[in-house]
């Protein structure tokens, strides 16, 4: 098979309105609400209580679990309360409410870590509080904690294939050297021989910036990806960059790869260099009703409504707000929720855009089959799901679906295909448990 077969995908209108815009730091808001569960794995326990004074970068939440990431204060000020409330994940969770003093003083603990061994490096990766910033939010410390020398490829994800989002593009242009330094640190301590930076062809300036910085470093290569969604999906970018196949039930490690997002590497490098953990996020604010779409640097825990207001507010009543890209992002029910580590975009849309799409009958046009990067047959899976036919769902390999939404995007009958498949997967799992 090899690289001869290229994975399918869909051509999505890029709508990168904020392309080329610099990242503007947002002033600290009056209050921040820092949730204790912003990553995959165990939630953190708050280490501060109401009335405590905190400074930027101070550890305020931690966990003993192997998979977890510590949480640091993104502002300086006073802890007002430790509350239970809804987070953007739709769950009730502990959050620390901090009233800011606007001084943004750094905590004493913010000093560059001393790294002399692999163990030191993993501790630093964990202490940085970095999680997978592409959206997966898998803790960096846990991801890099492998046996050194067992991985052949470090794949750096600079694809940003979702419409609207341009923040990784801006990061790649602004912090090219820091990202390369971060890559080199990971390669050094994990003894990874090769790195491939995957960047979509619609960002030639980013590709050039990397090539200029790398200047002949043979171990790090930039791979130009096609401009087609979902090049940034983990399984797809590994295949495109290395020709190795990762599928359902496998980790990239099984294929000798580690994948990291450019922003994650950058934030890790910032910690290695300055000792400042992940306390702010680069976010694209866009959508069809934002007055000033732009890329902003937002302290973690800022209210989404505050971020929108910083960008000039909205031209009209929003009907849908999406965190992340429009292909895989999550629509949130209300805007008084806190920004989390893994958010990369806040997209606001009016009623005309968000209106419910009327579902009609499948006409077997085959667009979904042609679009599926995982080579599945969504039309057939959808029919099996409608019939609640678990055997058929297994036959059509629904578990290999990675929920990229390409099928639902192209469907002329406007069927919520990937939404159906999520339920179908649960059905198959349930049936195999019995």
């Amino acid at each position: 098979m090899g690289l001869t077969k290229r994975l399918s995908g869909v051509h999505v209108d890029h709508r990168k309105n904020t392309a080329g815009m610099p990242i503007i730091p947002m002033p600290v808001p009056e209050k921040v609400y820092i949730p204790m569960s912003m990553h995959i794995g165990a939630p953190c326990k708050p280490l501060v209580k109401a009335g405590d004074t905190v400074k930027v970068g101070q550890l305020i939440g931690d966990t003993d679990a192997r998979i977890g990431a510590p949480i640091h204060s993104s502002v300086s000020g006073t802890v007002e309360a430790v509350i239970q409330g809804m987070t953007q994940l739709g769950k009730t969770d502990t959050s620390i409410v901090i009233k800011t003093d606007g001084k943004q003083e750094l905590a004493d603990t913010v000093v560059p870590p001393e790294i002399n061994s692999f163990e030191d490096f993993i501790k630093a990766a964990r202490d940085s509080g970095v999680v997978g910033l592409g959206g997966a939010s898998f803790p960096m410390g846990a991801k890099l904690n492998i046996k050194p020398g067992t991985v052949d490829y470090l794949v750096i994800n600079g694809a940003e294939c979702e419409p609207y989002i341009t923040v990784d593009h801006a990061v790649m242009l602004t912090y090219t050297r820091d990202i390369v330094d971060g890559i080199k640190a990971i390669m050094k301590w994990l003894q990874i021989p090769n790195t491939i930076i995957g960047i979509e062809g619609n960002k030639p300036d980013a590709i050039k910036a990397f090539n200029d910085v790398l200047a002949g470093d043979a171990s790090i290569k930039v791979h130009e990806l096609r401009q087609i969604y979902p090049q940034g999906a983990e399984r797809v970018i590994i295949y495109e960059c290395t020709g190795r196949k990762v599928s359902y039930g496998m980790l990239p490690l099984n294929a000798g790869c580690i994948v990291a997002n450019v922003s994650s590497v950058l934030k890790l490098q910032h910690y290695l260099k300055t000792g400042l953990p992940l306390v702010s996020k680069y976010i694209t604010v866009d959508g069809n009703i934002v007055v000033h779409p732009q890329n902003v640097e937002v302290p973690v825990g800022t209210m989404i409504s505050d971020v929108i207001e910083f960008c000039g507010g909205l031209k009209e009543e929003p009907k849908k707000i999406v965190l992340g890209g429009p292909m895989m992002g999550r629509a949130i029910p209300r805007d008084d929720l806190a920004v989390m580590k893994a958010n990369s975009a806040i997209l606001c849309f009016n009623g005309a855009f968000a209106g419910q799409r009327k579902e009609t009958a499948c006409i077997s046009c085959g667009r979904c089959v042609a679009a599926c990067p995982m080579g599945l047959m969504p039309a057939k899976i959808s029919r099996a799901f409608r019939d609640k036919d678990v055997e058929m769902l297994k036959e059509y390999e629904v578990l290999y679906c990675m929920d990229c939404g390409s099928c639902a995007y192209v469907c002329p009958a406007r069927k919520p295909l990937n939404f159906e498949f999520r339920q179908a997967k649960a059905m198959v799992m349930e049936a195999s448990k019995k």
């Binding site: 599928s247 929108i308 929003p318 895989m328 008084d336 667009r367 639902a408 192209v410 406007r414």
Partner: protein, 325 residues
Amino acid sequence: MAERHTDLIVASAPHVCAPANTASIMRDVLIALIPALAVSVYVFGIRALILAVSCVIFCVFFEWLVRKIMKRDNTIGDLSAAVTGLILAFNLPVGLPIWMAAVGCLIAIVVVKQLFGGLGQNFANPAIVGRIALFIGFASPMATWVINSKMSPAIMAVAEVDAVTGATPLGLLAAGQQVPSNLEMFLGLISGSMGEISAAALILGGIYLIVRKVISPAIPVSFLATVAVLSLVFGLDPIFQLCAGGVMLGAIFMATDYVTSPITTSGRIIFGIGCGLFTMLIRVYASYPEGVSFAILLMNILTPHIDRLTRHKAFKPAPEGGAAK
């Protein structure tokens, strides 16, 4: 403090979708049929337009009526009934009485489409079954061709000595008489079913559909290529065989019907080859001069099996050898 919004719409991703929907696809098909309709009106006169419009009206009416009687959502807005009507009209001789065309529309929409569950559920192309039912049921009117002075001299010559039946190029070939030139065939200056005469106009529509990505070229190309190759094998003129009868109309507009053709590209190629094969076998060996609609109907019935044969396998590493290549 910013204004709070607490009643936002929560929906599953993706939050954007491609512009094409069922109605826009059907509209594109209707647009693609316009050149052939124009040629038909030019060659046969206003009667062609009357027939086409009545078929469309009957199909839409029957669709509306059946959905009403069955107490289901009305679906005439998706334009699929209009497409069926127009394609059915293209398959009829211009002189056919309107009430007979209405019977064809009834069979196409009510029997073939709605009784099986409506759009997306029918196992065979409604227009083709409508045409075949009329062809068998009203054998004589369905083989009575209008002939006039705009047509090729070869056809005019027959009209003077013979009745108007059998005056299609394929009929002339079967009877061993002089056939029109390939250029006349290509342009459509011949007799035949209303919409099938002009290969040029149909190809124009096909190119439009392919450019608009409404159809994939897999079926038309494999269908036409098979007809051409088999013509050579049987010692016939491939250009004549491609332009004669319903091959162009069938390959571009009828075999490509989404619902009744395979869903995978490899399946579509098999489907196209099968259509071409049956068409030529019927033309050469069977008693009918033309076999496109029967060929497509046969392949329609095989479609679920072709789909099963050409099932895609999920993207995953080869079973043995594990992950590291």
